[in-house]
């Protein structure tokens, strides 16, 4: 409440009426002494769980935040969890908070945030940097590192330390295409796609003015942006030798009348209206696109594009949804066990069956059911060219603008090297 109230006070300066900010008591010491026992520090540790059960007195209150669409499913899991530990009285509240902006809500006031919350892995560094996540130093009911896809573990880790429990592995982007327009070989190169689409009077869509997507071109050609050790600022090589070729390539793509720079909402509209026949997007649009294209619905990895005459595979950000435990939780132990429960193999399979969300658990992901889902299979193909999203906050706006300028054909005619230099200056700027 306190910081929310502050933010409001700032935004409304003159306008009266916001929340009161009464300081609440700080609990300085959350530890209650309990006899230590020996046990293995990785994998299953039933002994520690038994200890926790015997050391727990009274009601265990926990708050869980899951996305709006996941409410019913998560509530079911919570009920199962209560049955799993019948000796403990739980008071588990479920709240709605989108994974996409969990960090905004959590960082507004860490102490008031949920004990267990879901979030997209792009928020990892900010959450870790603000100290909001409890490090997963040990697991109790299943071995997270061993049972989860390597990419997902990497996405849930910072500096080699695991900070969250991978829940789904389907938050990246790939290529949707209409089989009635493109053949399987057409979708291998972007040039061919634009040619075919142009001839068919259709469009190929991608949000090049979005930093999340235009990373694809630069990373594919070997120009990277990475997070520095401070966890906030970036290093970026987008203005290195030869990067202007990438910039020129994007300009050339933008010149094609068959290409459209469209954001998520516009892609949905375009696909529904039948104008767009191929789009770079993610699993969240799978149902809509499938409904529009019917049997012609298909998905695959991103195509290659031409940089200075050579074909270059487009890279991407991989995306995972993770479950984090609040480091300020009053019941850290139970919060961790609940987080494990929500992400164990059985429940990841259940989540795929109920919500079609691609599992991050290696066994669950390998099942034939999951593999036969076109969108998730396409993500798996793209996985070879995907990297976890580790960029600081200053990446987004400058990269958005760079993408917009390039895809609009560099309207001011600025020297490409200068354009890239300016963008990199913004991306790598220290926090001001």
């Amino acid at each position: 409440m306190k910081k929310k109230f502050l933010a409001l006070a700032m935004a409304t300066t003159l306008v009266a009426g916001c929340l009161t900010g009464c300081g609440k008591d700080e609990k300085k010491n959350d530890s209650s002494s309990s006899s230590g026992t020996t046990g293995s520090n990785s994998g299953v540790n039933q002994e520690a769980v038994d200890n926790l059960i015997s050391a727990t007195e009274g009601t265990v209150s926990l708050t869980v935040w899951a996305s709006e669409e996941d409410q019913d499913f998560t509530q079911g899991l919570i009920d199962d969890f209560k049955k799993e530990y019948p000796d403990i009285t739980f008071d588990i509240k479920l709240g709605a908070c989108s994974e996409a902006d969990a960090k905004d809500t959590v960082l507004t006031d860490i102490e008031a945030a949920a004990d267990v919350f879901t979030f997209a892995d792009d928020q990892m560094n900010e959450l870790v940097n603000a100290g909001a996540l409890q490090e997963v130093v040990s697991t109790y009911t299943y071995d997270v590192k061993a049972e989860t896809l390597a990419g997902a573990v990497e996405a849930a880790s910072m500096d080699g330390k695991l900070y969250a429990y991978p829940m789904t592995a389907d938050n990246g982007y790939f290529l949707y295409y209409d089989k009635s327009v493109f053949s399987d070989s057409d979708v291998e190169t972007l040039d061919k796609m634009l040619e075919v689409a142009g001839a068919a009077g259709k469009q190929v869509a991608m949000e090049v003015s979005g930093a999340w997507y235009n990373y694809s071109f630069f990373k594919g050609a070997g120009y990277d942006v990475t997070l520095n050790d401070d966890g906030v600022t970036n290093s970026c090589t987008w203005n290195a030798d030869g990067a202007t070729d990438v910039a020129q390539a994007i300009i050339d793509i933008g010149k094609s009348s068959a290409f459209v720079n469209a954001n998520d909402a516009d892609i949905v509209t375009g696909v529904t209206e039948g104008k767009i026949a191929a789009a770079v997007s993610g699993t969240w649009n799978a149902d809509t696109i499938k409904a529009a294209w019917g049997d012609n619905y298909a998905a695959t990895k991103l195509p290659t594009y031409t940089v200075a005459g050579k074909q270059v595979q487009m890279a991407s950000f991989s995306g995972y949804k993770l479950i984090g435990v609040n480091s300020h939780s009053k019941n850290v132990g139970w919060a961790m066990i609940l987080a494990e429960f929500l992400t164990n193999e059985e429940n990841q399979v259940a989540r795929f069956n109920a919500r079609s969300l691609g599992p991050a658990n290696a066994n669950a992901a390998a099942s034939s059911d999951v593999q036969s889902n076109p969108a998730i299979a396409a993500l798996a193909k793209q996985a070879d060219y995907a990297v976890p999203q580790r960029v600081g906050g200053n990446y987004w706006e400058p990269a958005n603008t760079l993408g917009l300028t390039l895809i609009s054909g560099n309207p001011d005619g600025t020297d490409l090297q200068t354009l890239l230099d300016n963008a990199v200056e913004g991306i790598t700027a220290p926090v001001q």
Binding site: M10, L14, S35, G36, N41, L52, A130, N394
Partner: protein, 490 residues
Amino acid sequence: MKEEKKNPFKAMGRGFANFFKGIGRYFADFGKAVVKGDAGVKCSLLFMGAGYTFKGQWLKGIFVTLIEIAFIIMCIFYAAPNLAKFGTLGTVQREAVFDPLTMQQTVNDYDNSFLILLNSIIALFIIVCFILFYIYNIKACYELQKQKEFGQHIETNKENVKSIVGNKFHLTLLSLPTLGIILMNVIPIFVLIAIAFTNYDQNHMPPNKLLDWVGFSNFKKLFTEGMGNYFGYAFKKILGWTLTWAVLATLTTFIGGILLAMLINKKTTKLPKMWRSLFIVAIAVPQFVTLLLVRNFFGDQGIVNTICSNIGFTDWLKSIGLVSSHLNYIPFLTDPHWAKFMIVIINIWVGIPYQMLIATGVLMNIPTDQLESARIDGASKWKIFWKITMPYVLFIQGPALITDFVKNINNFNVIYLLTQDVYITPDQALANANAKEVDLLVTWLFRLTNEYYNYKMASVIGIIVFIICAVFTIISFSKLIAGDREEEYQ
């Protein structure tokens, strides 16, 4: 007198002089009370209730002494520990150790910089209030002593209690709202001002990290340019657009509202009630719903663009150069110039119904004798509008216009809801400061806090917005609502 009114700054200067003189007198009176006071007054320097008790008002005496005791307890247990750390904003960073075997977390006794800041400001506020109360108390005791010396009646305990719901009832009534305003408005503003002098940003987020005082460096950043600092550049641009927007938005809806009201009020207009209701329906729908829908309508691939391209409007705009040739849509909300234009237009649509309602009321009250005599004298409709209607409406609505102007400076909804997630700035320097061409100071501030946790810069911007709004309000109110304006109108 006349001259003074013409120059608000002179009046302000005089106001300040009087203000300081008043403060001087205030303390002089206090000194006099202490020096000339009898034993009771002097005792109340230490025990605040003594003065009253000596004069028989022991109930009041006990009450005042209780306040004093409460204050001392507050100082020892609340103010002192917080204020002791106020200079550094805390020195012990949070460290937590998790024991994987017992699954318990041990946390050190850390300092929460933000709470220290907040509590210190509250404590300082209480202390200042107490000092004022203390001085008032001594003076009141001295007054009581004088009353006794002159042989006047001294209120008994019973009369004291009665006066709370009797002749001092206004104080009783006002105490709660005042407390509310202090808690909800005054203290947050002080906290906001204090944060502008700290390094509260993404790298320093309490409760896990500590804050530090940084002096005026945040202000310097906002007013200077260069050396990788884009805030100065962005601030100038955004301030310019904020003021342009506020003027445009206020004038267009104001004039539009009057014209619409006049049109509906015209005797020849059929079904005036229906038209009026239709426009009021636009108010009945929550503004943010309308705005989000409109944002989608005017999207690059939105419905309006589809229509425009089908009827060939897009191509026509291209041919006259209003839309650049490489686009196959109209960048309603994605091009800086188009977006600014559309925001003003959409705001007219959203804002006119309100103005129409107000204008309808005002127009109905125009003295008909004036209008009639003008008509008999042969004045044209145009002349009547400019010479009678407009001056009258301006006279009545002048203060409301200023409020509108200030409100538009802070018009968060229209700008944010129409451009968020849609508009991308083509200006790299603005992007580097996390700003956009269409941002108002207040939306920039919001995104700085909400997306970048840059509370320190947001606070500085907040202070600037406050100053701008305050200056505009003071100047225009002193010009517009001077006492004898009514005669001027006639």
